[in-house]
């Protein structure tokens, strides 16, 4: 068995004639944490959404676990999404359900788990991330940090092989960013494979195994955090880092 969990090759994606991804390649190993950085509009969100089939690609191939072709016409996208979790900048919790129901909904309906099993699993996850006392609250009673952690727990409850995080701290009060990043750190330590688009460079440097700098729809430069942040080779990377680290 190969150690590659996700293999993205030559992916193109355009919106209304405007190409956002231009033959992008990226390979993610199991247990690896990949951080996507790049200017606003460079295609980070679009890439993540293509990976779990929320957008269809125009060309190229995305292979999950060496066997499942996300981009094939006949692929069941629901099956893909069962194996890949995604968390968005806006938490998108379901406002009409309690925290517990938010977390147990898809294990019950998609994985057909019993109510008791999914509650037990959800409570264990909520406990692990310090959210057990919020289980019966509605989302409108949560702080931004709590809401985002619940969104992470909700995705984790599906036991995904791969987690995608799209700027999950961008909507948060600076004081609440830490608790969400702690959660990600915890997941990384637990060996979860994850791809994360972020503007938190300090965190990227700390948690990433691989940093990818996206520019104009391709991965312009990638490497270890030391390499990309320490001695960026491309002029555009240097410029971007100089701007954002200022």
């Amino acid at each position: 068995m190969t150690n590659t969990l996700l293999d993205i090759a030559g992916v193109w994606k355009a919106f209304e004639g405007n190409s956002v991804l231009r033959g992008l390649d990226l390979s993610v190993a199991r247990h690896e944490a990949v951080v996507l950085i790049g200017a606003s509009g460079s295609g980070k969100s679009t890439l993540l959404r293509c990976v779990n089939g929320l957008e269809t690609v125009d060309a190229g191939r995305i292979l999950l676990g060496g066997d499942l072709d996300v981009t094939a016409f006949k692929t069941d996208m629901d099956a893909v999404r069962r194996r890949i979790g995604i968390v968005f900048q806006s938490y998108n919790l379901f406002p009409h359900m309690t925290v517990l129901d938010n977390v147990t909904l898809s294990p019950r309906k998609v994985l057909k788990r019993s109510s008791a099993d999914s509650i037990e699993q959800a409570m264990a996850l909520l406990q692990r991330f310090g959210l057990a006392d919020k289980a019966n609250d509605y989302p409108d009673r949560l702080s931004g940090g709590q809401a985002q952690r619940v969104a992470i727990v909700r995705a984790l409850a599906m036991e995904p092989e791969l987690m995608l995080f799209d700027e999950i701290t961008s909507a948060l009060d600076p004081l609440l960013v830490g608790e969400v990043l702690d959660t990600v750190r915890d997941l990384k330590a637990g060996g979860l494979t994850l791809i994360m688009a972020t503007h938190e460079m300090g965190f990227a440097r700390e948690v990433a195994d691989q940093v990818c700098f996206l520019d104009a729809g391709v991965v312009l430069e990638k490497g270890t955090p030391e390499a990309v942040f320490g001695s960026p080779q491309e002029a555009k990377t240097q410029e971007f880092l100089a701007r954002i680290l200022k």
Binding site: F94, L105, S106, V110, L111, D137, D140, A155
Partner: protein, 307 residues
């Protein structure tokens, strides 16, 4: 719904009012009112209530007096507010009203079902189901455009005239069917607006969790959509309660028809006033209930906004 704040327990200690929520440690003041300020507030509220009542009473007395002094009043009273006529006709009116209630109770659930199904059909994206979508759209276009009373005429007089085998030619049946068709089109649009009011990110989040399109509608979109349209739906209910009277054009003895019979046999219109009172007696509680629901939802929404 447990999204609401826990009821607060008020405890008075000496002059200071402590409001302790169930979750904070007892004794820790969470809200503190200056007693002087509080007494002033209470006094002002009492005064406002008294002034309001006095003003309203004065208004009623003045208007009542003015009306009763006009030269035509005795005739008006005799024609519209005749006590003995009222007593004679009211029980019969109430009896006839049962038919309105029956029509309403049968029509309303059917309207909700048709409205929901048509709203869902109009948003179908599968090419195979295009016919369904076209039919649903045509239905809404037609029945929203035609006056309800015209639909009642068409079905109530038209269909029985065909003398089809096995088709009922009962006026109440066709009158109710016409109301259902007419209101179904309105309610379908209300539901559709509700579905549209659920942000697309909710659907995206649900799909990303592996839920199918159907499951997403069923568990995520529809519950929120229905909640959002409860106030306008209640409005349509109120309107339907009144419109049950339209069935009278087909002849069945419901409330309006009964009042008409009473009035034309005595040339006194008190029965109409009695009928109006009965309709009002039902719609006022419904209207208050709709107001209450609306206020509650507004409060909830503004709370969600600050969370």
């Amino acid at each position: 719904m447990s999204g609401w704040p826990v009821p607060r327990r008020r405890t008075s200690r000496s002059n200071v009012t402590l409001v302790t929520s169930a979750t904070t440690a007892p004794g820790a003041p969470e809200v503190y009112f200056d007693p002087v300020r509080q007494a002033f507030r209470r006094k002002r509220a009492r005064r406002d209530a008294l002034v309001g009542m006095a003003s309203l009473l004065g208004f009623v007395l003045v208007v009542g007096f003015a009306i009763s002094r006009t030269s035509g009043w005795p005739l008006v009273q005799e024609t519209f507010f005749n006590g003995s006529e009222f007593i004679a006709t009211f029980p019969g009116l109430l009896d006839a009203f049962l038919l309105n209630v029956r029509i309403f109770l049968i029509a309303e659930p059917l309207i909700l079902i048709i409205g929901l199904l048509v709203a869902l059909a109009r948003d179908l994206r599968s090419p195979l189901l295009l016919p369904l979508r076209v039919v649903a759209t045509l239905y809404v276009d037609i029945f929203r455009g035609v006056p309800t009373i015209l639909v009642i005429f068409l079905l109530g007089f038209g269909v029985p005239a065909l003398q089809l085998q096995g088709v009922p030619n009962n006026a109440v049946f066709w009158g109710t069917a016409a109301l259902v068709l007419s209101y179904g089109a309105y309610v379908a649009e209300v539901f559709r607006a509700g579905i549209g009011s659920v942000h697309s990110s909710q659907r995206m989040a649900a799909r990303s969790l592996g839920l199918t399109s159907m499951q997403t509608s069923r568990y995520v979109v529809l519950p929120q959509a229905v909640r959002n349209v409860i106030p306008p739906l209640l409005n349509d209910f109120i309107s339907l309660q009144k419109d049950t009277a339209l069935v009278s054009v087909l002849g069945p003895i419901e409330l309006l028809r009964q009042a008409q019979i009473d009035a034309s046999s005595t040339f006194n219109y008190t029965a109409y006033v009695g009928a109006a009172l009965i309709f009002i007696a039902l719609t006022i509680p419904m209207t208050r209930f709709a107001d209450w629901v609306q206020a509650r939802m507004r409060k909830r929404r503004s709370m969600a906004g600050t969370a």
